[in-house]
């Protein structure tokens, strides 16, 4: 692909920690991607609006507050509602193993828990990107 992959790195929910999000943003940049970082406490509606306007290939969300079972699927559904079907939705953060199957079923493409090497995330994006 001779264009940079565009990734929206978003922090939904109310927790005020964006260290993880910033680490992943930098790693993706260093892998040649254009990362749009939207800051803390974004609502699913804001995330989807930004994803549309920025025409991203990937929406990567990071969440520590425990609201992932609600917020991640909501973003997936809002994207569908906008007719967006070529965006890869990824989730990260403190997510109990038990919740992962539900999230994958609801359309989140992959979940990365703390300690995942950033390389795995980069590889996943490069392999699974939906738009050429």
């Amino acid at each position: 692909m001779n264009r940079p992959i565009r990734v929206l790195v978003a922090k939904p929910g109310l927790d005020g920690h964006d260290r993880g999000a910033k680490v992943i943003a930098r790693a993706l940049r260093d892998a040649g991607m254009e990362v749009i970082y939207t800051g803390l406490r974004q609502t699913p509606e804001q995330i989807v609006a930004a994803a549309v306007q920025e025409d991203v290939d990937v929406v990567a969300m990071s969440l520590l507050s425990g609201a992932h079972n609600h917020l991640f699927p909501k973003v997936v559904n809002l994207l569908k509602g906008e007719g967006v079907d070529d965006v890869l939705v990824l989730g990260g953060g403190v997510i109990p193993d038990d919740d992962i199957p539900f999230l994958l079923e609801s359309g989140v493409e992959a979940i990365f828990t703390p300690g995942t090497p950033t390389k795995d995330v980069i590889d996943f994006i490069n392999t699974n990107i939906k738009r050429k």
Binding site: R29, Q42, V84
Partner: protein, 311 residues
């Protein structure tokens, strides 16, 4: 419905996709611009520049909200630097514009410079046209945080807003050299901090030096964070717009900008032709080996490549 129709029906996804296509040199996007170009020109373009961290994004957010009160449709192109090492970028201007994301009459797009110098990206020229066709009344272009004179924004915008802050120390000296000529309006942002009056005075003193001009750029103290005096700043921007339109100077400025744009496009095309020829059949490889052995010299090697594109 094809993408062109969708753009004209103000479909955000179509607008977003067209900007991407343009960034990736897609022929179809260029054809759409060719077809619809005569419909452009009604959007008013304001370039926002100034040193890193001076508050350009926060101010863009505030000015946009002010324009929204009048029902104006606003497009924002926010440019951040692309890493020369990886080709990637972190585009963070949206952080300061979160509230605008859901406004159906605001369109925000972040762009990496992708190797282009001068505080903007090559695709910014085209993106402005797409936002114009999309129906924006005003378009803000936020440049990369730059301070020097090489600011291409002046070649894209109708009005240039320079954002400065108090207590810039010696930086202001360096900046002044390049900016006094390009700014149409000055904002001293972060005027909630000490020292804004001093910065304003310094700028005013510099402006006194070229008093001969008919239009004198106003210097407005604002606080984007505290949302203070944004209305005054907007009024000054629109005064400049009105001045350009009343005097018809707007046509001169736009024509000057278009000269740069046309040359820029020509330059790009010729560069691409040279690159194609240089790498075709390993020509550059071959020539450089000969030059290294002193069988050939760089000048005749260059002539051989250029000769190939001349016919």
């Amino acid at each position: 419905m094809d993408i062109q129709e969708r753009l004209l029906k103000r479909d955000k996804r179509a607008c977003a996709r067209l900007i991407s296509m343009l960034e990736n040199n897609d022929e179809e996007a260029i054809n759409i611009i060719k077809r619809l170009f005569n419909k452009t020109g009604s959007a008013y373009v304001i370039g926002i520049t100034g040193p890193p961290g001076s508050g350009k994004s926060t101010l863009t957010d505030r000015l946009t909200k002010e324009l929204r009160k009048e029902g104006k449709r606003v497009g924002i192109l926010a440019i951040d630097p692309t890493s020369p090492f990886s080709g990637g970028a972190i585009l963070g201007d949206r952080i300061r514009m979160s509230d605008l994301a859901l406004d159906k009459d605001v369109f925000i797009r972040s762009m990496g410079t992708r190797g282009f110098l001068g505080g903007v990206s090559k695709a910014t020229w085209g993106a402005v046209k797409i936002l114009d066709m999309y129906g924006c009344d005003y378009i803000f272009i936020e440049t990369v945080g730059v301070g020097q004179s090489e600011i291409d924004i002046v070649k894209m915008a109708d009005t240039v807003l320079m954002v400065l802050i108090p207590n810039m120390g010696d930086d202001i000296q360096a900046i002044k050299a390049g900016i006094m000529e390009i700014a149409d309006v000055f904002a001293i942002n972060k005027s909630d901090l000490d020292g804004a009056d001093k910065t304003k005075m310094e700028i005013e003193m510099n402006l006194d030096l070229n008093e001969k001009k008919e239009y004198r750029p106003p210097v407005v103290k604002v606080s984007a964070q505290k949302n203070e005096d944004i209305d005054i700043l907007l009024r000054k921007l629109r005064d400049h717009e009105k001045y350009l339109k009343d005097t018809e100077l707007i046509h001169q400025i736009r024509q000057r900008n278009l000269k740069t744009e046309i040359l820029q496009l020509a330059e790009e095309e010729i560069l691409r032709m040279i690159m194609d020829k240089a790498y075709e059949n390993d020509l550059l490889e071959e020539l450089s080996i000969k030059v290294e052995k002193r069988e050939e010299n760089p000048y005749t090697a260059k002539e051989k490549i250029v000769a190939l594109i001349k016919d």
